[in-house]
């Protein structure tokens, strides 16, 4: 159990972030993160090491999230986390809010809500690709392993998802 505790501490932030970005809800993300680690612990004997533990546990989290969202039929209520203090100093975000965004009065919290709402309009698989690539910075190959699809599929899903997001957020990207 001690060794597994170390594994939890090592991967908890990435797993939580994946599930949180998929659900846009802290409580759901908390439940799904716990269930992911519990299932991984119980299924450790089925892990033969032909993929990294990181990929393996990510796959459990991805499957749990997608199944959860399908059961909910996308009736997800947002419960967004607060942004850290660095957000206000992020030059890209500052530029977006103060210069490029036509609605000058839009603050970061409102922009966060619009962004999450746009993400929730994507299908589960498209949202997952955007989350893993554009938010978490995983490579196409890693995403292919995690989602059990080839790199071409990952690329096409990513392109389509970005186009969709761009269309949903067009008012804020001028």
């Amino acid at each position: 159990m001690g060794a597994y505790d170390l594994l939890v501490r090592r991967y908890q932030e990435r797993i939580y972030a994946t599930v949180y970005h998929m659900t846009s809800n802290h409580e759901d993300a908390n439940d799904l993160t716990q269930e992911t680690f519990i299932k991984a612990f119980r299924a450790l004997r089925t892990f033969k090491g032909d993929s990294s533990f990181y990929t393996w546990i990510y796959r459990i989290a991805v499957n749990k999230s997608i199944n959860f969202l399908k059961q909910r039929k996308n009736r997800v209520q947002m419960s967004l986390n607060d942004m850290d203090v660095n957000a206000e100093n992020d030059p890209d975000l500052v530029a977006l809010v103060s210069e490029k965004t036509p609605r000058r009065d839009l603050n970061l919290a409102e922009l966060q809500e619009k962004l999450n709402a746009a993400l929730l309009r994507l299908s589960e698989h498209h949202r997952m690709v955007v989350t893993l690539h554009d938010i978490q910075g995983l490579s196409h190959e890693e995403i292919g392993h995690i989602m059990d699809c080839n790199i071409g599929t990952v690329r096409s899903r990513l392109f389509y998802a970005r186009q969709q997001m761009q269309a949903y957020l067009s008012d804020y990207l001028k």
Binding site: I38, K39, T46, Q166, K174
Partner: protein, 158 residues
């Protein structure tokens, strides 16, 4: 002016906002203990079916081999049933010395009906005399004059 649909630079900058979203303070220091407590309570024990489904989920090769085996078994059973059924029916036809046609009476029901002869109808008591039916047999539930059940004997029945 709408942004170029293939230029995602602004979108990617906006997506950076998501990386700044953080759970409540202290959440990640409590989470491992919460998970450990749930594991110690025995939560999430996998039954046979869940273990089997885990193999399906995490072992695509297992899915393919299982599907192939199932398909093979189905094909073999179909081929076997197609081969065996005609052989069995031919064998049964050869062994039977009679068929449903041979069971029909030799002077069949198709003999011409003679309307000049009186019609005899056999009743259930075996008498073929319509004008003088046999006396009704006593019933098992007949009662005597005093209302007591009477013993019944079929020895003297016609």
């Amino acid at each position: 002016m709408n942004p170029d649909p293939n230029d995602f630079e602004a979108l990617l900058k906006l997506m950076a906002l998501k990386r700044h979203e953080q759970p409540p303070p202290g959440y990640f220091s409590r989470l491992p203990d919460t998970i450990a407590a749930r594991l110690e309570r025995g939560e999430g024990q996998l039954g046979f079916w869940e273990t089997f489904m885990d193999h399906l989920t995490f072992r695509p090769a297992f899915v393919y081999s299982f599907s192939l085996a199932a398909l093979g078994a189905l094909t073999i059973s179909v081929i076997y049933s197609v081969r065996v059924q005609p052989e069995e029916s031919a064998q049964m036809a050869g062994n039977n010395s009679y068929s449903w046609q041979s069971a029909a009476p030799e002077q069949g029901l198709a003999s011409p009906y003679d309307s000049s002869q009186p019609l005899h109808v056999a009743n259930w008591m075996g008498s073929d005399n319509v004008s003088n039916p046999a006396p009704a047999m006593p019933s098992l539930f007949d009662t005597g004059a005093h209302g007591h059940p009477m013993p019944v004997s079929f020895a003297g029945s016609p």
